[in-house]
């Protein structure tokens, strides 16, 4: 993991036009065109922002174009490509990571908004529950193509944290009650922000339920 720490510091000063399904990376032609057409704003392109992210326990100092999403910072600057870019609009959940233990869509937040924050991605090691989820997904065949899987597992980890905190869901009958059981219905509702194109949902539900059962 440590050999990935060194940031390539690749400038992404016109990573713009991230459209649905778009992948980041080699779009130099389109980017140049955008810069020329956008000459009035060129002065703004000079801005970079210095931030520190603590990713999976390791501190990284980065100098970024302010447009860089947390997801692009992880993937393109820290080479942590476990977190996936699916829709890039917060609809599919493939980019799910945890910030200070809370799951969010890394594609819908700027890295600059997370200066100093602790980020957990699928590459994290040493978290027993994360490891248990990874094992359970393999045991229960909780995927086919695997593209959504890092997001599913990080989301499940965040979901179990929320359950620990007693947070209710839309399907919780008594939201004033203290303890709530993690039924299949609860898992489905609480995981609805993660889409699986292969529809491995039944096995994903089983994998998550197993982790919760073995822990309790």
């Amino acid at each position: 993991m440590n050999r990935r720490v060194k940031s390539p510091q690749r400038p992404v000063t016109s990573s713009g036009r991230n459209q649905v399904g778009g992948t980041s990376g080699s779009r130099a032609g389109a980017q140049n065109e955008l810069c020329v057409r956008d000459s009035k704003r060129r002065s703004n392109l000079a801005q970079t922002i210095d931030i520190t992210l603590k990713v999976n326990g390791h501190e990284h100092s980065l100098t970024l174009d302010p447009r860089t999403t947390l997801l692009d910072a992880l993937r393109e600057h820290l080479a942590l490509t476990g977190s996936k870019k699916g829709c890039d609009h917060g609809q599919c959940g493939a980019c799910t990571v945890l910030v200070d233990g809370t799951r969010i869509n890394a594609c819908l937040t700027l890295a600059a908004m997370h200066d100093g924050d602790a980020i957990t991605t699928i590459e994290a090691t040493g978290d027993a529950r994360l490891a248990a989820l990874q094992t359970a997904f393999v045991e229960h065949d909780g995927f086919q193509c695997g593209y959504c899987t890092p997001g599913q597992i990080c989301s499940a980890l965040g979901m179990l944290n929320e359950l620990d905190a007693g947070m209710p869901s839309h399907v919780t009958a008594d939201i004033q009650g203290a303890g709530m059981a993690l039924t299949d219905e609860e898992i489905r509702e609480r995981m609805s922000g993660n889409i699986c194109r292969c529809a491995a949902y039944p096995n994903i539900v089983r994998a998550i339920a197993q982790v919760q059962e073995r822990a309790s």
Partner: protein
């Protein structure tokens, strides 16, 4: 995404001043709607003012027995707060029915109120939209308008307001607290915050340039059972076709607010005086008009009103 400068405000007053100076400055809090729109260049601010570190994230009781919710309280935190779950269940329920867990963890109270419509044509920059580009026309009229409004529309715009949270807050007579760039605060009834589209659908709220929502204040909890019922195209993670927030008293009196059917969160106080479901529906739906593929929302709203009252009083059905 268009280039912008990124600044972190030192305090709320500095944030409002900065936002009033820039010609196209925006506050960013959760960013779940703003960044989505910036990637499509529907929003293209020159400057983003990060307000995430300004505090404003506490939920406190007011001297009057109500609740003051900081503008930066995340939707998930608000929904799970013990006092909200106990005293304002309709608000918890509305929040939990919206978006996904990841989005609720990030989205804020203030930002939720200011989120923009999910009209397909507002999002499609190849189509005319008076809200996105004033004067260009409305592709939703005569287009696919299944998710669009049947109340409060104009010939220029039929986009529905997407929030669940705002519907519950409207029912609860919430007041929005703001700070203006000149340093003055004001309190705006949530009922007055959003504007009808009229001839200027691009003007969605009565907030002035640089004005920052700092909190939402709820009056003391109302008596009666609180209900949020949301009808949508899938069981989770979908916007409302029709939603009803309701408080029903032991005597059968009710008050309701509606989502999915209005160009703003919708409430007709005159209906509070009525008891018969059809009378309530007639009053709420006065002036309602479908636009083709959303015609179904008129009978659906009536049925949801019936269902909410029937579930509360089973013997009446």
């Amino acid at each position: 995404m268009k280039a912008f400068t990124f600044t972190r405000a030192a305090d709320a007053a500095a944030a409002t001043r900065a936002a009033s100076n820039g010609h196209a400055a925006k506050f960013i809090a959760g960013g779940t709607n703003l960044l989505d729109l910036m990637k499509l260049q529907i929003e293209a601010p020159d400057e983003l003012i990060d307000i995430n570190r300004l505090g404003m994230d506490e939920i406190t009781t007011t001297p009057g027995g109500g609740l003051r919710i900081g503008a930066l309280v995340r939707n998930a935190v608000l929904a799970a707060h013990p006092l909200v779950r106990r005293d304002y269940e309709v608000l918890s329920r509305a929040l939990l029915s919206g978006a996904s867990a990841q989005l609720r963890n990030k989205a804020t109270t203030g930002g939720n109120l200011l989120q923009r419509t999910r009209c397909y044509y507002f999002y499609d920059t190849t189509k005319p939209c008076n809200k996105r580009q004033p004067g260009s026309g409305c592709a939703a009229l005569g287009g696919f308008n299944r998710v669009h409004a049947i109340l409060g529309t104009s010939e220029n715009c039929i986009a529905s307001h997407p929030s669940d949270m705002a519907v519950a807050m409207l029912l609860l007579d919430a007041v929005v607290e703001t700070l203006k760039p000149d340093g003055t605060e004001r309190h705006i009834k949530l009922a007055d915050l959003h504007k009808l589209p009229g001839d200027t659908p691009e003007q969605e709220t009565m907030l002035e340039r640089g004005e920052l929502i700092t909190a939402v204040i709820l009056p003391p909890p109302p008596a009666g059972r609180q209900i949020y019922r949301k009808v949508r195209d899938r069981a989770s993670y979908a916007f409302a076709l029709v939603s009803v927030a309701a408080i029903i008293g032991e005597d059968g009196a009710s008050r309701m607010a509606f989502g999915g059917i209005g160009t703003k969160p919708w409430r007709v106080p005159a209906a509070d005086e009525l008891r018969a479901p059809d009378d309530i529906a007639d009053t709420v739906l006065a002036g309602a008009a479908g636009h083709g593929t959303n015609d179904f929302k008129i009978p659906l709203t009536r049925r949801v009103i019936h269902a909410v009252l029937r579930d509360q009083n089973p013997e009446r059905s």
